[in-house]
């Protein structure tokens, strides 16, 4: 185990608690937490601290991304950036052609210093047309999306019940929401979570 993990583990087991100690938060202050809610961006307009698009190329720790409205983004990934591709991943998992959403802080030079990057994340709602071997066939606005069950990763959340790795309670004909990772240039998705209303 890395020394960073050792440090974090001993901190939470030694000094951690059921809730965050007020003293630990004191220097942060509530204004830091609610800074995100401050009206710095006009509602309805593009958020400069957010980027979406497909990766065109990767150089060092920077992702060069072309947005859907032809805007070009440079997204810098640092040690503190969280990266998601069906779960937390390392930077070497980023590939040209991946779609992404990124949230961070826009620097004066136009680069987005990323706090979080989600690769190929999709959140589609639709009717289950059919269920075949480890696959859910989803009808999403008339288009079929093939959703793959990934052993050890996919879970089903049935309303507010604890999530289960057992997806067998899903029924053909019901409506669900699938949060997962799109397989680029296909109509297929790897399932992270299936939300079922019952």
């Amino acid at each position: 185990m890395t020394s960073r993990r050792q440090l974090l583990k001993s901190a939470v087991l030694g000094g951690g608690a059921g809730v965050v100690a007020a003293t630990a938060l004191g220097s942060l202050g509530p204004e830091a937490a609610f800074a995100k809610a401050a009206p710095d961006v006009e509602p309805g307009t593009p958020d400069p601290n957010f980027a979406e698009g497909r990766i065109r190329s990767i150089k060092d720790n920077t992702l060069f991304v072309l947005g859907s409205n032809w805007v070009f983004h440079r997204i810098r990934v640092v040690d503190g950036t969280s990266l998601w591709k069906l779960g937390p991943v390392a930077f070497d998992q980023a590939k040209p052609g991946d779609g992404l959403y990124a949230r961070g802080v826009r620097m004066p030079d136009g680069v987005l210093a990323a706090e979080s990057v989600w690769f190929n994340i999709v959140n589609v709602k639709g009717h289950i047309q059919n269920i075949t071997s480890e696959k859910v066939h989803l009808d999403h606005n008339g288009k079929q999306i093939l959703c793959h069950l990934v052993a050890g990763k996919s879970v089903a959340v049935y309303s507010d019940a604890p999530p289960s790795a057992d997806l067998s309670q899903l029924r053909v004909g019901q409506h669900v929401q699938v949060l997962g990772a799109w397989r680029p240039d296909t109509n297929e998705v790897d399932i992270a979570t299936v939300f079922s209303p019952h």
């Binding site: 059921g18 965050v20 969280s82």
Partner: protein
Amino acid sequence: MHGIAAPQPYVIALFLIWAALMKLLSRRMRAQAGQTALARLVGAARAVPALRIVAVLELAVAAALLLPPASPLDGVAATALCAGFLLYLTYGRLAAPASSCGCLGSHARPVNWRGFGRAGLLLAMSVAAIWAGPYPGGATLVAVGMVEAIALLALSAELDHHWLTPLRRLLVRVRKPLAVVSPQDIPLEVSLRLLYASPAYCSASAWLTSDVQDTWDEDGRRFVVYAAHGRTAVFAVPLSGGDPSAVRVALIEEPALT
């Protein structure tokens, strides 16, 4: 040709009568008229009257096909109507791909290959009907008619919930295609949902500035790490037990990461 043509008028007519009655009598269908390609063609306000006009046309052609005297013109009328259907579907696919057909039922799903297949089959049957004489006989021709009727029904997506969905449900019950084979690894998402339910997460969530940075399992716990305004928030989530109050959290000032 004369033989095969014989049952066509009956199958086509029954199908047209059914489609017409659905358009005239189904309140749900009228309620969803605004989402059909027909509404796109004539305007949403005229969609329901347009549906009624189409229904009357369908009834008229069905009557011509069923009632004596039998004439090749009956088949020609049916052919013209079915050619119109095919053109309408093509228009819908090109001009309003997300719109539904409004042909037979009240489902709002867009037109797909089955809709085109059905319209194509009806057109072929209508062309054959031009050569149909009166009063067909024989078990073979009845069988032909029944096969065509079944094909039309199978191509009608509006009817799936009567037979296709129950069939698929039965197959899923039998085959269990999503059964968990080796439930050894507890997916991360299970731990995260427990985390979201915990007082620890509630107290810290306003300060989190990233998604999960890192996670690992040790000693029956799953450690989950987030960034928190320049600091690091680490949670210890029990891997078994499922008690949200057992989740622990700490906010740490880490040495600068180079």
